[in-house]
């Protein structure tokens, strides 16, 4: 009964979305106030119905209702309950339900938190989001119903893929989808602005916090995914340039560009056309990512061709959304004014260059991801595009952007002078060069790549400090404030920017040092054997059998010795998940500020010994720490007071730039 109720709720949700799209869009373009009044309550209703439907699915999973196909295929009675919960969105069908849940959640949030936005504009925004929702609810109901029954019911389920039975995987998909789907908000803002012709600075101001918050979620989501790969796959890699990863990374790159170009649009009224285009592209890439991951096209073009229903639907939807948006863009965009004038050396130019680099980087990742698919589809042969290609292409494109990250925030709007910038940044520049040349020696060997990576990181970090220092000095001199008063009076968005940029520096340190100085040892260990790596000696003391809820296995007990003294104990496991008969390596990781000690149990050998892989990974946690700082920066920026101020009605700002 519960699955049917859930199914019905989702069908009702589709009906609500249809009504909402109709009344909101027609009402807003025709100026029918009564019709527009539908959009806000409809968004809440949509969110309620979807949450209700989602809860029904969760209940089916939690209560082990194996008469539901989705539950029978992705869960098991022995599965611990947190993973039964996570299994609700572990399958294709469930993840789509999560997708629409997020979408309706964002719609409700827009309805709730956009008090300052005029009614007709809000109706347009919610109407556009409802159109997107119609596409996804139909996709869900027509091709991927998560509530389908299985008759006769299965005795027990086929279990969740063991790779997904992990705490990281419980929160990774919701975070990632929050980000992915969150870009639909700024997309809707852009389309609404194009339709109404009000592409002004207020539009940019409304869009900015939504973009930033979605970006922060996406950052966390990607970082969690990478962290999960690091500890779950058993060999300590953290990024593989896998198409699935790229699918989430492309919207991230474009979203990053979008945040920066929205800044220019809001502050200077420039880049309006570009910002709108970027908003469309970013959301389109989110949709493309969904298509790539959900259509099966990634595993093989042929898998897509044999079961084309889902793929064709979402491809058609993608083409419709992108096509319609671009047509609207081509029709409306030329009517937009140019915005503020600026010189070649100015913050606008720096941000433009940042946009160019980020977008070209995203385009290159797109090229590398889709190229093998195109070649295969055209019958020109099968090729693989992997890390060697992406490293070779991505790093040279991003390096100048890292350099600009130091200069951009300290340069002036409209017109900056090179001597002035040089004066401000010369110490940061000299110190970063010298320290990047010397620092590698403290780690052991000197290498060009390490030195180059550190150069960028130190440069970004120091330029941030110089920036903060200059701002504070100006304030205490010019406005006669005390130091702490100046610190307190700088806006949160400024600190958010610094925090995110420092996050990038921290991230680069992590990547550079772990690539440069990682040590790996593959050994054959018997009981009592030791393996020495760095300062650590690892001794295998015992092996014991493991009896988990839905797996069996072996657990090693390893003593970690420093100078002969035991400092820690680690317990790597090898599990065999009984239902799917899948072996999993549960690495033991000792996390530290400057290094991770990573032990993974390989295969047993005939003489009773085990293959053991030990890694010493210097500064690897800085990778995710950096990503966390970036996301924190985004959240800080959104908490800025002026957005709360902006939520009050503002009269007279509209049309200021539209008239130019």
């Amino acid at each position: 009964m519960i699955p049917e109720v859930g199914h019905f709720a989702v069908i009702l949700a589709l009906c609500v979305a249809l009504a909402q799209a109709f009344f909101s869009l027609v009402g807003a373009t025709r100026g029918y106030v009564n019709w527009m009044a539908v959009s806000r309550p409809a968004a809440y209703l949509l969110f309620f119905l979807t949450t209700f439907g989602f809860c029904c699915l969760v209940i089916s999973f939690l209560t082990n209702d194996f008469s539901v196909l989705n539950v029978a295929s992705n869960s098991n009675s022995q599965l611990p309950w947190p993973y039964r919960l996570a299994a609700s969105w572990g399958s294709h069908e469930g993840s789509l339900l999560l997708w629409v849940l997020m979408l309706s959640g964002w719609m409700a949030a827009v309805a709730r938190f956009s008090k300052g936005v005029p009614n007709d504009m809000l109706s347009l925004i919610l109407g556009v989001m409802a159109l997107v929702a119609i596409g996804f609810y139909s996709f869900l109901l027509l091709t991927s119903n998560p509530f389908d029954r299985l008759l006769p019911p299965a005795m027990d389920g086929r279990d969740l893929n063991p790779l997904l039975q992990d705490p990281g995987m419980v929160i990774h998909p919701p975070m990632l989808y929050m980000g992915y789907v969150g870009f639909s908000v700024v997309f809707a803002f852009a389309i609404a602005a194009l339709i109404s012709g009000r592409l002004d600075t207020t539009w940019a101001r409304w869009s900015r916090p939504w973009t930033t918050i979605a970006w922060a979620f996406l950052t966390i989501g990607i970082a969690l995914g990478s962290w999960w790969a690091y500890y779950e796959l058993g060999w300590g890699g953290w990024w593989f340039w896998d198409p699935v990863e790229n699918a989430s990374f492309m919207p991230w790159l474009c979203g990053t560009a979008l945040m920066h170009s929205l800044l220019v649009t809001e502050k200077r009224g420039s880049f309006k056309v570009w910002t709108v285009l970027l908003a469309i592209i970013t959301f389109s890439l989110s949709l493309l990512g969904t298509f790539l991951v959900r259509s099966g096209v990634l595993t093989s073009v042929h898998a897509f061709a044999t079961d084309p229903e889902r793929g064709v639907f979402i491809l058609g939807f993608l083409v419709f959304v992108v096509g319609a948006s671009l047509v609207l863009f081509a029709w409306r965009a030329p009517k937009v004014g140019l915005g503020g004038r600026f010189d070649l050396v100015s913050r606008e130019s720096a941000l433009l260059a940042n946009n160019v680099l980020l977008v070209v980087a995203a385009a290159s990742v797109l090229l590398g991801t889709l190229y093998p698919l195109f070649l295969d589809a055209l019958g020109l042969g099968k090729i693989s595009v992997g890390p060697p290609y992406f490293d070779a292409v991505f790093i040279p494109i991003m390096a100048p952007a890292m350099f600009l990250m130091g200069i951009g925030p300290i340069s002036r709007w409209k017109k900056s002078s090179v001597p002035d910038l040089a004066l401000k940044l010369k110490w940061a520049f000299v110190v970063s060069i010298v320290s990047s040349l010397l620092l590698p020696f403290t780690m052991g060997t000197w290498s060009l790549l390490v030195s180059f990576g550190l150069l960028m990181a130190v440069w970004i970090a120091l330029a941030g400090i110089v920036n903060l220092w200059t701002r504070l000095k100006q304030m205490s001199r010019g406005e006669g404030r005390t130091f702490w008063n100046s610190v307190a009076s700088l806006p949160n968005s400024y600190y958010g920017m610094l925090c995110a940029h420092w996050g990038v520096a921290v991230f680069i340190v992590g990547v550079t040092l772990v690539n440069g100085y990682e040590v790996e040892k593959d050994v054959k260990m018997s009981l009592g054997n030791t393996v020495t790596i760095g300062n650590y000696t690892i001794r295998l003391d015992a092996l014991k059998d493991l009896e988990g809820p839905n797996y069996t296995g072996v657990e090693g007990s390893m003593a970690i010795l420093v100078d002969g003294k035991e400092v820690d104990r680690m317990f790597p496991q090898k599990r065999l998940y009984t239902v799917q008969q899948m072996a999993m390596t549960e690495a033991a990781i000792d996390t530290g500020f400057t290094r991770d000690l990573y032990i993974s149990l390989g295969e047993p050998l005939s003489d009773g010994s085990w293959v053991v892989r030990v890694y010493l990974k210097p500064y690897v946690d800085w990778i995710w720490g950096g990503a966390f700082l970036m996301a924190l920066g985004g959240i800080l920026a959104v908490s800025d007071r002026r957005y709360r101020k902006a939520s009050q009605p503002e009269n007279g700002t509209e049309g200021v730039t539209a008239s130019s």
């Binding site: 200077r268 099968k382 090729i383 054997n529 001794r539």
Partner: protein, 151 residues
């Protein structure tokens, strides 16, 4: 005073298995060779896995291929020869570093070309912008609007 327990403790310390704690043998008998095997394995695709290098995979085929790479290195073949051999056997699909040839021209030249075009456009855009008196006026408009709003 040496107590009984201490003696037992000492005996255990010397006679227990840990007193013979010996360094576990490396899986690879020749670490230099193994490093070369790994470097090559990192660029070869495990054809039966879902997007994994043979270095990262423990699948049967991956292990076989790694052994084969090791044997070929021992026989004195170099990296290019081994890769050529793999390509001959499995096609370009086995290489994660796609070779530069007719069908991959767009792939390799694309990013550079895009970068070039994008920069050409933006420099043109900035040049035009910095000369545009109209735009200048609108920037003043914004400043004036800002000032008005603050009041």
């Amino acid at each position: 005073m040496i107590t009984k327990t201490k003696i037992i403790g000492l005996m255990l310390f010397f006679l227990g298995p840990w007193s013979f704690a010996e360094e576990a043998p490396l899986l690879a008998k020749d670490p230099v060779l193994e490093a070369r095997v790994k470097a090559i394995s990192l660029e070869l695709r495990c054809l039966v896995c879902q997007n994994q290098t043979i270095a990262d995979s423990n699948a049967g085929l991956a292990v076989d291929l790694k052994n084969q790479v090791r044997d070929m290195l021992r026989e004195g073949m170099n990296e290019t020869q081994i890769k050529d051999f793999m390509v001959e056997r499995y096609g370009d699909f086995v290489l994660y570093d796609p070779p530069i040839k007719g069908t991959t021209m767009v792939l390799w030249a694309g990013p550079l070309l895009m970068l070039f075009i994008a920069f050409w456009f933006s420099v043109r855009f900035v040049r035009r912008r910095s000369r545009n008196p109209d735009a200048y006026k609108s920037a003043e408009d914004i400043d004036r609007a800002r000032a008005l709003l603050k009041d």
